[in-house]
Symmetry: C2
Subunit: 361 residues, 2 copies
């Protein structure tokens, strides 16, 4: 569609050996075609009296100008991470994810979250489960400093047995702030990476399939970890709202990327006319290295499916690197590292691994 956020398409092309998203049952090509078929039917442009959508095609959130304010909206679901939550009988993490994945998408255009509405679609209401989800929502709201404004609880036993957890986040561009889209990116801009807490809520269909097929128990730690593998992989998505708010009004910030479904390919959403050279992105360490080895997964598949340790990227002008790194580190309470640089050309490159991605989806 000509405006508004694009829809992430997870899963790469099929490969001969090693686990891929396609093998795990999610075919990227048919999703892309189905989505194109839907969007080909939607042309309507509302009159200006209904608000004016800004053109931010392919970006993380849509923006509509209402009266004197710019309102940002995005929606996403936790996906199959709920199946791991069910496996482990722990619901707080996915409740927190439902908030975090959406507010991070708002943060990725520089919008400040105001409110969340959640959508829970379930086969059967379960008090313990819903209380756990509520505790997670509460933690997510606190981290993002936004309010729960409502929700929908649909009980549809004929449609699914478990629960689908989604949310929509509504935010705004405060005090005349312009959306940060990546349009101003230029060669020489530096890519600062903020650490992820783990897989977040992406790649779970593949990760769960690898663990299941390998008959590895969810309830024991992998070698080198302190908590059970299932607990490690449930860890809630880090919220990057505070970090982004600390730097969003600086003119030296030129792009923001939430590293969600699609891995490093997310950078391609910012600007198609520059190249992203990722020479400082971490290697496959921790749970990522474990999953890669266990599933015989290619580097190409790993870096386009998982965040590989970096959950959010802030692109900055060279002159801003020092001050903005310090602001980001202070606001996030985590180390900030240079993960790459913007160059002339197109695509995302990880030269150490011989990888190049030309398209987001």
């Amino acid at each position: 569609m000509g405006r508004g956020p694009s829809r992430p398409v997870v899963g790469p092309k099929r490969r001969a050996s090693g686990w891929t998203y396609a093998k795990a049952g999610v075919d990227r090509g048919s999703i892309r075609e189905g989505l194109a078929a839907l969007l080909a039917e939607v042309h309507y442009r509302a009159p200006a009296s209904s608000g004016r959508p800004l053109a931010l095609s392919g970006h993380y959130a849509g923006v509509v100008r209402i009266g004197r304010e710019s309102i940002a909206v995005t929606t996403d679901t936790v996906g199959t991470k709920v199946l791991l939550a069910a496996e482990m009988g722990r619901w707080g993490e996915v409740g927190e994810d439902a908030v975090a994945i959406n507010v991070n998408d708002l943060a990725a255009i520089g919008a400040r979250p105001a409110a969340i509405v959640d959508t829970l679609v379930m086969g059967r209401p379960d008090r313990r489960q819903l209380a756990g989800i509520g505790r997670g929502l509460e933690r997510g709201l606190r981290a993002a400093r936004c309010s729960l404004l409502g929700g929908e609880t649909a009980v549809v036993p004929e449609m699914l047995a478990g629960i689908d957890i989604g949310a929509t986040a509504i935010g705004f561009l405060p005090n005349g702030r312009r959306p940060i889209t990546g349009a101003r990116l230029r060669p020489g801009d530096v890519l600062l990476g903020l650490p992820s807490s783990g897989v977040h809520a992406n790649g779970l269909t593949l990760a769960r399939r690898i663990v299941r097929e390998s008959r590895v128990p969810w309830r024991r730690p992998r070698r080198g970890a302190r908590v059970a593998l299932g607990v490690e992989m449930l860890r809630p998505t880090t919220t990057y709202v505070g970090a982004v708010e600390a730097v969003a009004d600086s003119p030296d910030v030129t792009g923001l990327a939430h590293i969600s479904g699609g891995g490093v390919r997310n950078l391609l959403r910012l600007n198609p006319n520059v190249s992203f050279l990722l020479d400082g992105w971490p290697g496959a360490a921790g749970v990522f290295g474990y999953l890669q080895k266990l599933g015989g997964v290619s580097n190409e598949e790993m870096y386009q499916t998982f965040n590989m340790g970096v959950g959010f990227v802030v692109a900055v002008r060279p002159r801003g690197v020092r001050a903005l790194s310090r602001s980001l580190a202070r606001a996030s309470g985590t180390p900030v590292s240079v993960v790459g640089v913007v160059e002339k050309g197109t695509g995302v490159r990880l030269p150490a691994l011989g990888l190049r991605y030309a398209q987001y989806a």
Copy 2:
């Protein structure tokens, strides 16, 4: 929760004979308890710099004050109507519903829709199905005069086989309009009803169960109807946005109710300190009479599950009845009838049927 829209709970208490929602597999009590367990965990109040939510507890939409604008948000899914869409192989109607059910909830507080984001969760992408949904979204957007600002397409084959269709609508209160909540309702106010197009997107779990158990074919018209029963029951939800916009700035409009899940009980969301006497609500005619007879459904169950022919109610001061009826009829292109009156007391009453409802959910 203390603010924002309440979540409709469909399905009444179990009855000895005749079909009820509980018998169809949806237990109202356990939904209410599960929801209470979730909301008991959510207390956080965001700082004013994140926007200020207005207190509209139990209402159709939440409102957050962002800068100088009041932004309204609501979210809902089409529910099990998608199973009838699958039965009939027709997807346009439920696509249109996804927009209509949400914009009608915005209209029910007097907010004007600006944008929709849709959420499609499916087991497998199907181009034909998604194109049909796209055509329906387009019709819904045109009827509501609002824009599609984005969406999420989640493919989760392990979680469900079919498709769940939901959306979130974002609107606003234009030019200083205050939310119309029903707080100003008083005895003597007149209830004007706008016709529904059929069952809309409510009661489908019960209706489908009745038809299936009776072994009535979906592809033949019921006696007195011109189209197949399945087509008749798929008819998309009427959009009441235009009608509400035509009268929302009148000081004589004191309440608005979208007659969705919960049937006539929806009126109880407007004001707990008045009584709604429904002496002009239609009897069980058309598809409603057919379903009631086929399933041996009680009047109590029918009027708290289906809209029974009235999809939206506008409460007006007596002095405004004539002019506002005319405005509503002109804007909607349908007849407008007096369906009841506000009285002293509490609850909703249909004296001709001996019915009284004390609570919304």
